[in-house]
């Protein structure tokens, strides 16, 4: 088992059902995704069955089960972004990097996800790359912004 996972498990009390989601979040934060190894380890640590862990983690859109790209793009398709052309932006972005939401580019440079509102609706449409919010987006600004992320 990976050292990081052992370390994370050490920070959470054993057999404590309530810490399942925080634990999964921590693993994803450090590893980028939830591997089947991680699920196995969590299952033993918390004494919760693997199927339960899959059940819980697949319920929440935050968790992913495959490795992410080096840069994570979250494109907002909330109401404010939708009425201001969020769909067009997603289309253009998909074309530009050649993947659809839920996928990762072959060179692992980007992964793409759609989210429902980043709370910057006043500056719609917006997208977030690695915790940086890019506001008042347009198809024209897209390429220049992507170039900043290698």
């Amino acid at each position: 088992m990976k050292d990081t996972i052992i370390k994370i498990l050490g920070q959470f009390p054993q057999n404590n059902r309530g810490s399942l989601i925080p634990l999964l979040q921590k693993v994803q934060n450090l590893e980028g995704y939830i591997s089947s190894d991680a699920i196995h380890a969590i299952s033993t640590h918390l004494r919760v069955s693997r199927s339960t862990i899959y059940g819980v983690s697949s319920f929440y859109s935050q968790f992913r089960f495959n490795p992410p790209g080096r840069n994570s793009i979250k494109i907002c398709l909330g109401t404010a972004c939708h009425v201001q052309g969020g769909d067009f932006l997603l289309n253009a972005l998909s074309l530009e990097i050649g993947i659809k939401p839920g996928e990762t580019t072959e060179d692992k440079r980007f992964d793409l996800e759609r989210v429902a509102c980043l709370g910057c609706c006043a500056l719609a449409p917006v997208m977030m790359i690695n915790n940086n919010i890019h506001s008042r987006m347009s198809v024209i600004k897209l390429r220049e912004i992507l170039n900043r992320y290698a």
């Binding site: 935050q62 109401t79 009425v83 509102c117 609706c121 198809v139």
Partner: protein, 592 residues
Amino acid sequence: MEQTKVIVGLGSCGIAAGAKKVYNKIKALKETKDLGFELKKTSCIGMCYREPLVEVVDDSGSYLYGDIDEEKAIEIIEKHINQHDPVREYIIHSDMFETEDDEYLKDQVKIVLRNCGYIDPENIEEYEARNGYRAIKKIAGQRISRMDIIQIILSSGIRGRGGGGFPTGLKWKFAYDSKADDKYIICNADEGDPGAFMDRSVLEGDPHSVLEGMIIGAYAIEANGGVIYCRAEYPLAIKRLTIAIEQARAKGYLGKNILGIDGFNFDIYIKEGAGAFVCGEETALIASVEGERGMPRKRPPFPASSGLWKKPTNINNVETFANIPWIIMNGAEAYAKYGTEKSKGTKVFALAGKIKRSGLVEVPMGISIRDVIFKLGGGIRGNKKFKAVQMGGPSGGCIPEYLADTIVDYDSVNATGAIMGSGGMVVMDEDTCMVDIAKFFLDFTQKESCGKCTFCRIGTKRMLEILTRITEGKGEMSDIEKLEELAYEIKDNSLCGLGQTAPNPVLTTIKYFRDEYEAHIRDKKCPAKVCKSLLTYEVDPEKCTGCTVCARNCPADAIDGEKKEVHFIRQEDCIKCGMCYTKCKFDAIKLS
């Protein structure tokens, strides 16, 4: 003489607009030139449409600069700080003279947002300096009894700001009446309505006001555990909350025997949401905190008697809690002075969409929607026609222009078929297709339905299929009746608020914009030119430069044309995907 202050707004929206660069520029200038002013940070003051914002406070008064970039910042430091000559051109608000943007602020009453944009949210002393933690000290000092606190909250008339509008005092009383060794108080910071950001701004701008509200609540209902359930999409809010909690612990506002009140032990933990809209619903939220799938549970039992870990639990929204310290300090009457008979106090609205001034406003209940949009919000951008405003997000509805004189209070908004919701107002103009909006929300609720109830799970899917059909020009007139029939079945037979309200966006758009549905079905036309399948794409010969981008990107190979010559779309092959429109850099693809 007080030292001149330069304050930069560093909320999420400010940062997104470039405020960090501005801050760093000013900091570098101050350090390299050894300038004698104090550089401070604050959060969002609500004027998101003018971000980044920089305020200068000197002997003569305060000056708020808007739309600032690094160059303008240099100019402000040079002229205003060094030569005491404010740069009038960039000033959007000042106590020295009137500006156009005053309209945005004039009718606002700031109770919830009393500190947002005025204090550094990462500094507890700045909160304390503005009456912060005085309400809980007043309770401790004057030994105000639990029942008296609950009575004050009841008399203030405040109703829950999370959408339901349930009287907060009553909720506290139920939780107080349930006796148990452990009780919990939860702050709902899941802010699920996509298009609303009031709670984010409060958490980022004034986290201590929420903590103090929770502490007062905990004292009143005798809770010993506190949880803030905050959505993961708000990393800055989580960071500032974490700092605030640590500071409050260090100062003894959280912990054991708080403020010397014997036996009053209370602490707060943050739980990060994991991306599920339904977790905003209180019983689903509790399930999620317990580490389960976020599925709603049947009520009763209500959380007040059996909630988190089966203990009595009180859940309130961020904005509800932020009101509490103010009410304790100023009294129930001062609060109830604002508002209408059944909706007291103020409400924060998040203005977004096709509105000129988008951002946060706090207004007394009872003001008309028209005033919010036109007086404060400055009307519609680009001189377009106002069509509707969406309130209440996926549970709400679209209020048409002709009902814009409706006042904002729970009952009046409900009467239109929309709901007050948490305070998102997304403004729509003539270019917004109402059938598309209905489809947008159904797509959202269909994806977010937890799957527990058949009507919600399958019903929303069927409705979405019908709406998709209509927007593709394949609808039939009977589809409108089918939608209505399904809508009422889903409303009547769903367990939680998600399903019970999911059809509202469809019902209100059918009610107020039936002609748009009919245009899609009968004439196969989308009057607002939004629904892709119903549009014809053509090349504008005046604008086309023959760059070949459209032809190269067309997945159907439906575009002909030589390099440097005007291109042509073969209508019989066009699949109306909109790719050429998205790709063209010369605005040469016309929609009709």
